[in-house]
Structure formats: structure tokens, C-alpha cells
């Protein structure tokens, strides 16, 4: 079989991989901010669930989480499609790692900033939104970039819950054609290329955030 015939199905899979990665990274960022800020809250009702979420999802395997969402949840009546289970699992997982980044960056803001906000009688909400987050956000961007690439690589695991991503297509094609070496080589190269693009995109975003936060002249 010609290489040109192998490529289209792989590219179709790569498209799914890109979509899943994008969706779960964005959703994961939402979880990361919610849990990261929640962990620093004064209220136990917010802090404890945030800590529990972070510990459980950072302490267990992504594949276990995906299997749990896909195979175990239907038993208590919640059936997720492979796509929703995949995106939810990936974003919950990466969100827990991101939450620690958010928490770390917020805690690393200079102490004087919080004291000044207090002296100026800012409410906690104003302090968070107007003082702490704008300063912490640029610091979060480099680790977020690493997590995005991590998420792209992790997305290969959704093939094991029958989602037709790049890895799934590669395995499928390999079973049909037995052209093992070209298919798996092309798959690795496609992931590598996507990682390079994602890294470049995150660097660009990082510069934009720094610029918007007034860190750059």
C-alpha cells in the first residue's frame, strides 16, 4: 500500500486528536483556575473540595480515570459518549495539575501587594481579580505551555476508550494493512509536529499575556 493511501486516515485521526486536545486544554484551564483559587479560599466549603479534587486526580492514573468515566459511570446511570468521557477525563486530569500551577503563582505574588490591597480597603474579590491574578498570570504561562503538550500526549489514551483519534486510526490501519513501520513512524512524526506547533502557539500566547499584563515595554 502506498504511503499516500496511509496518510488520509491518519490525518483524520490527527484532526480528532487536535480537537480533543484543544477542548480539554480549555476546559482544563477552567478547572485549574476554579480549584487553584478554591484551594486558597478562606472558606472550608470551597477549600476542601478543591484539595480533594486536586489530590485524587493528581494521585491516580489518567487511564484509570478514563476507564472509570467510561466503564464505571454507566452503572450508576450516567452514560458518557467516548468523546465526552475522553474530553472530561483529560480536562479533569490536566486541570488538577494546572490548579497547582495557579495556586503556586498566586502564592508567589509579592506579600506587599496583598498588604497594599488591604490597606486600600479592597475586598478579597477585588484583590484577586485586580491585583493578584494580573500579576500571577504571566508566571503561569510557561508551565501551562508544558501542560498543554503533556495533554496532547495524554490524549493518545482516549484511543483505549474507542475514540477514533490518531493513535486509534494508526492501530486500526496497522491491523488492516500490516504496514507497521511506516504507519507508526508517521504517527510519531505527526504527534511530534503537533507538539511543536502547540509549543509555538503557547509561546505566542505567553508573550501576549506578558504584553497585556504590562510586563513588556
Amino acid at each position: 500500500m502506498m504511503f499516500a493511501q496511509l496518510l488520509p486516515p491518519l490525518l483524520r485521526g490527527a484532526e480528532i486528536t487536535a480537537q480533543i486536545t484543544l477542548a480539554s486544554t480549555l476546559l482544563g484551564a477552567l478547572f485549574a483556575f476554579a480549584a487553584g483559587i478554591g484551594k486558597l479560599s478562606r472558606h472550608r466549603a470551597l477549600r476542601w473540595p478543591a484539595v480533594g479534587y486536586i489530590e485524587v486526580f493528581r494521585g491516580t492514573s489518567l487511564l484509570v480515570q478514563l476507564f472509570w468515566l467510561f466503564f464505571a459511570l454507566p452503572i450508576i446511570g450516567i452514560s458518557l459518549s467516548p468523546l465526552s468521557a475522553g474530553i472530561l477525563g483529560l480536562s479533569l486530569n490536566i486541570g488538577a495539575y494546572g490548579a497547582e500551577v495557579v495556586r503556586g503563582a498566586l502564592q508567589a505574588t509579592a506579600r506587599g501587594q496583598r498588604e497594599a490591597a488591604r490597606a486600600l480597603n479592597f475586598t478579597p474579590r477585588q484583590t484577586l481579580w485586580r491585583i493578584l491574578l494580573p500579576q500571577a498570570l504571566p508566571e503561569m504561562m510557561p508551565p501551562f505551555g508544558n501542560l498543554a503538550v503533556q495533554n496532547l500526549k495524554d490524549s493518545a489514551l482516549v484511543s483505549l476508550i474507542t475514540l477514533a483519534d490518531l493513535t486509534y486510526q494508526a492501530q486500526n490501519l496497522r491491523n488492516i494493512t500490516l504496514q507497521t513501520v511506516p504507519i507508526l513512524t508517521a504517527t510519531l512524526l505527526l504527534y511530534f509536529a503537533m507538539a511543536l506547533v502547540l509549543t509555538a502557539a503557547m509561546r505566542w500566547l505567553e508573550r501576549r499575556v506578558r504584553y497585556a499584563a504590562g510586563h513588556e515595554r
Binding site: 464505571a72 489514551l157 504527534y191
Partner: protein, 230 residues
């Protein structure tokens, strides 16, 4: 029935208790794969780090590319590659060894960066002082650089041990019967997934929390100024 154990379906708790011995058998495989893969990652990573820092660009640049490639591609696909391609070249390894090889390879890319960063973090003055004292390269590394790099390197290496534990279930994709695969098998045969999969989650949580706690303890005992090698 699995591994000679029978499950008891009378209640969720009885079921959980009856499948615990099976899961623990899987846990042994998980731990074995972790330890073996980690040792491989530590050694291969050191080799990659040394090649990456080689004075010759002809060596350093291809190594940098290999590290980047290993870091940026999914473990699962690397595993498939090893599992399906190696036999074509006459290398027939058992699935378990292929799995640990894949773990070791991917993580060697991470550990190589840890070694490199640790060595680079040693202040420049130390290199210059060694040069001024006319120490040989061997003595510079053995007595000056490496002892100071170790306290920086060990905590980061420890974090990867925890990560590797969590990546072992991927080996189930090539028929390695580790903990998650055992739970999946129990689920497939009894149509009860909730109990075995939740138990695997809890066991993983215990395993990673215990490992992380042990590592923190170890870290606190590390002398911060450096560890003499002689």
C-alpha cells in the same frame, strides 16, 4: 475466576473483598514495572545527559533531537512502536519487558534534563576555581560538580518516580496484566466495573501518596550543601 481466586457477588463489599487478592497480584506487576522502568530511566537519562553536554556538536545536537522527540510523543505510541516493530527485526521481548523499556525510554528524556539542569545550576565560580586549581576533568566532576549537583537533582528525580507509577497502566494496552488490566478483566467478566475500577483508583492513590511522603522525608535528610562521593 482469575489467578485461582473466585469472586463473591453477594454484595458490593463482599465483591470488593473477594477481588482484592487479584488486584494485589496486579499491583505487584505495577510495582515491578515501575521499579525496572525507573532504573532504566535513571541510567539511560544519565547517558543522554552526558551525550547532550558533549563538546562536539555532532554528538550534542542529534542527542538533543532524540530527547525532544521522546519528550514530545505519547508513551502509548512509543510503546506500540516497540511492541510491533522490534519483532520485525528479530527482537522478541516479552510484553512486560517491552513495556518497561518504553517507560524507561520516555522517562530517560525527562531525567536527562534533570541531570543537565542540576549540573548547570552549579555556580560558574566552582568550575573556574577547579580550573584555577588545575584539577583534572575527572576530579572536577567527581569532587566538585557532582557532589553539589546531587541535592538539586534528587528531588526532581523523585517526582518522576511518582509519575512513572501513574503511567504503568498504559502497559495494559500491550497485554501486560497489571492492576488496571486485572480490574478491567474482572469488570468484563462480572459486568461490574464500579467496584474494581474504584478500588484500583484508591490503590493508586495510596501508592502515590506513600511514595511521595517517603520521598519528602528523604529530601529533608539530604544535606543541602552537597554530598561527598568519597
Amino acid at each position: 475466576m482469575l489467578f485461582g481466586y473466585h469472586w463473591n457477588l453477594t454484595s458490593d463489599w463482599a465483591f470488593a473483598l473477594s477481588i482484592l487478592p487479584m488486584l494485589l497480584k496486579g499491583l505487584v506487576v505495577t510495582v515491578e514495572a515501575t521499579v525496572l522502568g525507573y532504573l532504566l530511566a535513571l541510567t539511560l537519562g544519565l547517558l543522554l545527559a552526558l551525550l547532550r553536554m558533549a563538546p562536539s556538536r555532532l554528538v550534542a545536537w542529534p542527542t538533543a533531537f532524540i530527547i525532544e522527540f521522546l519528550r514530545d510523543t505519547p508513551l502509548l505510541v512509543q510503546l506500540y512502536f516497540l511492541y510491533f516493530v522490534l519483532p520485525l527485526y528479530g527482537i522478541n521481548l516479552p510484553a512486560f519487558l517491552t513495556g518497561t523499556l518504553a517507560l524507561g525510554l520516555q522517562y530517560s528524556a525527562y531525567t536527562s534534563e534533570v541531570y543537565r539542569a542540576g549540573i548547570k545550576a552549579v555556580p560558574k565560580g566552582q568550575w573556574e576555581a577547579a580550573l584555577a586549581l588545575d584539577l583534572t576533568p575527572l576530579r572536577t566532576y567527581r569532587d566538585i560538580i557532582v557532589p553539589q549537583a546531587i541535592p538539586r537533582i534528587l528531588p526532581a528525580l523523585g517526582n518522576y518516580l511518582v509519575s512513572i507509577i501513574k503511567d504503568t497502566p498504559i502497559l495494559s494496552a500491550v497485554t501486560v496484566l497489571e492492576m488496571l488490566d486485572v480490574a478491567k478483566m474482572v469488570g468484563d467478566r462480572t459486568f461490574r466495573y464500579m467496584v474494581p475500577l474504584t478500588m484500583v483508583g484508591v490503590l493508586f492513590l495510596l501508592l502515590t501518596l506513600l511514595t511521595a511522603t517517603a520521598l519528602r522525608r528523604l529530601e529533608r535528610r539530604l544535606p543541602q550543601r552537597g554530598i561527598p562521593l568519597r
